[in-house]
Symmetry: C2
Subunit: 360 residues, 2 copies
């Protein structure tokens, strides 16, 4: 039986991934030297294509890391001397907050009740916060922060850098990059790739901060400090031996995405999300966990299930539909469905039909 | 034309890798959740198989990182409060030394002239060094430190922890693990895998040191601190989303290695190394860079080429044999040939024959 993975990550692979893998084997990509011209061309094409796809300014840096979690560590090390401020809407915001504490910084947090909608005006940020960290899309609740709330925070705190965890909302997330400084994501979600690669987008302002910290004698890390990364990236190399196969896949998936067009990808994401939300809203059994449309995630759809979700999740698995259970304490109450570019409209239709049959 | 990669890493892939990749695609490994039972079983099998293959004590921890370079950073963060001591025999020893400096430690080094043979008795190590770092096999010169020299250093400095970079000598390296504390390698060399995974083996003594540092309020890092790794590893999970495909391949390659037997792998490595050294020694054109047999690397064979190496390297490439040029300033003087389990005896014979024809 062929499975379709609606898990929130690792998730369904993008339809072209298998062919790219076969081509990688043919082209000896598993043996490709990371100091070769061919590797540099791959990295350069990622830089060019990602900037084109997401309208990232050309003077921003694109760094290749190993995970979104690593990105949190590198962001804190390179942008915070004293104080970071964290808007915690779920587990990953909390992970970011703890990372800062573990690295010996003075971290402060505004912890949201998971189901409270995000409003910039509710949050008081101390004027000495050097970094404000947010999670764009929370996969535990399916709450997504509207871009205008992020802009409002940025406008009110012009001296702070803004770090945005976009792990589960890229490439859908549409943001003006001149208003944010460190944006990161990993490839096993919206890019439909195997896990093992994290991408960190860094503004010139954040680069400058890293340089200032180093000049002051603050440790900004070693091989993956922003300055070490930048030195290698200027030649389209990496300081360490990276996941070359992942980098090859990413270069190719980006080309596929450009071929399709970001507008089409975003539009399809919204159409598929609406299909799921409409279905849940019309049902007596399901209730979307987040009610406000502006805050409803388009990439992670979470719904409460009357009578519990465990039985349904297991029955769907038998039919080849792998969906996520609820997060943490809500494990047996909710279902969570990823909606990434790898999920076709007919996959969503099939999933809805299957749920309808099972709960009928 | 089929290429054979004798580059020192990334290098030739192990003969089973392609089939493991096809099976991975069939089994949806690219979509495998890193919090699933199936993932835990993979990690557990790596733990069991690696310990069996290399005779690692059962109370040592096996951590999954992203590269050997990352391992250097984690080792320094978790075992050094004040002073580390580095025996620098080449570029990677220097990278380890710089890592400690960059992380704000007081790092001291004994820097060898690259072609001086390693002798433990020549090195004076300060009594307050908390960590002694060595590179087992130096890929720039082809110099390998004999195990007895490492034991001598350990015996003379019983209070220090020993960190051993075994990136380019595993699984060939045969060491008594109770005499070393942090041993690391990456998979794109001796394990014949695509790059993107680093393995760190940690002794209970080093774990204890990390705990002491944390209790003293020294930052030991965040998600990849020894304590955070240990907490996840106790459930055979990882703190972050790792390179799941790499982990799948490693579990399978370890099984292949166990099937073959470590004694056979080591014996074959020595036979192939001897073939290359004998050939170079019998030739008027080549001279092994390291003359002393006990210090000659068995996994990276480096030879000076009379009249320069560039032309030969390029001619070999045209015949499908990819070998390494000399390292750094010796780029045009030497050739470097990797000798890993993926390289069959007939591959080495073919390479030697081809070189003979080209220089005839």
């Amino acid at each position: 039986m062929k499975n379709i993975y609606f898990t929130v990550g690792p998730s369904q692979i993008y339809p072209t991934i298998k062919d790219h893998t076969f081509r990688a084997l043919k082209k000896d990509i598993f043996s490709l030297n990371h100091r070769s011209k061919q590797f540099e061309e791959l990295y350069q094409s990622i830089d060019t294509r990602l900037k084109e796809l997401l309208s990232i300014p050309s003077d921003y840096s694109i760094f290749l890391l190993s995970s979104g979690t690593e990105a949190m560590e590198r962001v804190i090390q390179n942008t915070v001397e004293g104080k970071s401020f964290h808007i915690v809407t779920g587990t990953f915001g909390d992970r970011f907050y703890k990372t800062s504490q573990e690295l010996g910084k003075s971290a402060q947090a505004h912890v949201y009740d998971p189901l409270t909608l995000f409003k910039a005006k509710d949050i008081t940020i101390p004027s000495d916060a050097e970094l404000i960290a947010l999670t764009h899309n929370d996969t535990s609740t399916g709450m997504q922060i509207p871009a205008k709330e992020i802009y409002e925070i940025q406008a009110k705190n012009p001296h702070a850098l803004i770090a945005l965890d976009a792990v589960s909302s890229m490439p859908y997330m549409d943001i003006m990059y001149d208003k944010v400084d460190c944006v990161f994501f990993s490839v096993q979600k919206g890019f439909g790739m195997p896990a093992g690669l994290g991408i960190l987008i860094v503004s010139p302002r954040a680069m400058k901060k890293a340089k200032q910290l180093q000049e002051k004698g603050v440790s900004i890390g070693s091989y993956h400090s922003f300055l070490s990364l930048e030195k290698s990236t200027s030649k389209f190399q990496t300081p360490d031996t990276p996941n070359v196969f992942g980098i090859y896949l990413l270069a190719n998936v980006l080309q596929d995405f450009l071929g399709k067009g970001i507008d089409v990808i975003r539009k399809e994401t919204e159409i598929k999300a609406k299909m799921l939300y409409d279905f849940f809203e019309s049902s007596d059994i399901f209730t979307p966990l987040i009610q406000d449309t502006a805050h409803q995630s388009k990439t992670t759809i979470v719904a409460q299930v009357k009578g519990g979700s465990t039985k349904l999740t297991k029955m769907l698995e038998k039919k080849g539909y792998r969906i996520g259970s609820g997060y943490g304490e809500r494990k047996d109450q909710d279902i969570r469905i990823a909606n990434f570019p790898a999920h076709r409209i007919e996959d969503i239709k099939g999933l809805i039909r299957c749920i309808e049959e099972l709960v009928a």
